[in-house]
């Protein structure tokens, strides 16, 4: 049990590495992502319960509607209790961007950026970049055949190359810049497509057409608002690496 709790609380270093956005702007075909720290596991219901107990302004009966829609933590039995049907060690869901940010801030951390999250998530158990590995991609896609409300305890499966668990296969996860995916209204490169409105319509311009899961993540993020909550959307926290002493 001790080992399990250590996994829940710890971060691992991810990167540095290169991430190729699915819909790159000119000059953005490869983004260098500096090394950063990322939670090994997604934040759990138990951890989030402790957070709202310490920060009651984030209880579902206190939070302002600006910060979370009506689905906020609605799987819990009450504003301050999980109930028997919620797995304490399972990834928390039903959390808005604001609430996820506040949780990470309370740990002197932040949400990962999209580039950081995607860099971590393109690793398989063996490779840092498995984004063109058919077996890896097939494993990710297999998740989509599973009902969205089924989760396992975090860190239940094998960690990836970086030592990170469950980036695929449990819940979708917030990134800090969710609203950067993707806007074309002021795109002077036009000739590109309005993928915020027509999911998948831009596949022809995508950098890696075999990565179907990446299309789905972009489509999902494009649909989010900051107050959005769903029962299959959770998060984990990230942090800059400590600066080395001069």
């Amino acid at each position: 049990m001790k080992i399990f709790l250590l996994v829940l609380a710890s971060m691992t270093t991810v990167g540095p590495g290169l991430w190729r956005p699915l819909y790159p702007a000119e000059g953005e075909e490869e983004i260098t992502v500096p090394a950063f720290e990322l939670d090994e596991a997604a934040v759990t219901h138990r951890q989030f319960l402790e957070f709202v107990q310490e920060h009651p302004e984030w209880r579902r009966d206190n939070v302002g509607s600006l910060f979370a829609d009506e689905g906020y933590l609605d799987s819990w039995a009450g504003p301050g209790e999980l109930g028997s049907s919620v797995g304490r060690g399972h990834p928390v869901s039903g959390v808005s961007w604001w609430a996820a940010r506040a949780y990470c801030s309370s740990r002197d951390a932040r949400l990962p950026t999209e580039a950081e999250w995607e860099l971590a998530a393109q690793a398989s158990t063996e490779e840092a970049d498995a984004s063109e590995d058919p077996e890896h991609l097939a494993q990710i896609l297999a998740w989509y055949s599973r009902p969205g409300n089924q989760t396992d305890p975090v860190a239940h499966s094998e960690p990836n190359f970086w030592g990170v668990y469950d980036l695929h296969g449990q819940v979708w996860e917030w990134v800090d810049d969710y609203a950067s995916a993707l806007v074309a209204n002021d795109n002077r490169e036009d000739g590109t497509v309005d993928i915020t409105r027509f999911c998948g319509a831009g596949a022809i311009t995508a950098s890696l057409k075999i990565d179907y899961a990446a299309f789905m993540r972009i489509a999902f993020r494009s649909s989010l608002q900051a107050d959005s909550t769903t029962r299959n959307l959770g998060f984990r926290c990230a942090r800059d690496l400590p600066k080395e002493a001069p």
Partner: protein
């Protein structure tokens, strides 16, 4: 990091007359019934499709400026703005008057001038007989690195904007929060420019988002009408 000001006070303060269903929606889901029941049921005036925008509940009536900050108010955000004169103010200082708000950046040559044109045409339409309506226009830069107060002032002067127009900058994390409440999507490009959605938002005196248009022209009349209602 922003922390919401708790709206529990709403449970203990009887609200003013004229509360409609929309105020019910800003209360916590488990609020104590009875203290804040609507006094008067008001049918929504807008067609159903006007509610499609998830950012905006046009049925929200605004309360007097002296009322506590509501759970839906953007003035819960702890955001520090620096204006074109280098003066610092809190976003919440805008409470008390309707605000037309948008994210722009001054070196933007495509959508931003069109956003400004739209904003000016909305404001002009609300001004009656040349008498300026009591509103504020808040244009916040999404490019805090390049949009210094001097750059903001030059932009304001170039476009001959009157004193109701405030050009302001905030730090990057706070710009992200402002964009989140206005529903503006944006991304910096390697060139330093931005891709962004052209959003114009309307806040009532309490900071509740009561109108919003994305794109140009189509919803302008609706926003003008709503702003007129708020001014009156």
């Amino acid at each position: 990091m922003t922390s919401p000001r708790i709206v529990l006070m709403l449970l203990t303060v009887p609200l003013v007359l004229g509360i409609t269903n929309c105020e019910e929606q800003v209360l916590p889901p488990d609020h104590v019934p009875g203290l804040d029941e609507p006094v008067e049921e008001v049918e929504p005036n807008e067609p159903a499709e006007a509610h499609a925008d998830p950012h905006c509940d046009p049925d929200k009536e605004h309360l007097a400026a002296s009322e506590p900050i509501l759970g839906a108010s953007v003035y819960q955000l702890d955001i520090s703005l620096t204006d074109q004169d280098g003066e610092t103010a809190a976003l919440a200082d805008f409470q008390g008057e309707p605000v037309v708000a948008a994210l722009i950046y001054t070196t933007c040559t495509t959508a931003c001038p069109m956003i400004l044109n739209e904003v000016e045409s909305i404001v002009d339409a609300v001004d009656e007989d040349g008498k300026p309506a009591k509103i504020k226009v808040l244009l916040i830069s999404m490019d805090p690195e390049r949009d210094t107060p001097e750059a903001l002032k030059a932009y304001r002067d170039f476009h001959q904007l009157d004193e109701r127009y405030v050009l302001a900058r905030a730090d990057e994390a706070q710009v992200r929060e402002i964009a989140a409440v206005l529903g503006t999507r944006y991304r910096q490009l390697p060139s330093g420019d931005y891709n962004h959605s052209p959003v114009i938002a309307l806040l009532d005196a309490q900071g509740q988002l009561t109108g919003r248009m994305e794109g140009f022209g189509q919803q302008r009349g609706e926003l003008v009408e709503r702003l007129r209602d708020l001014v009156e």
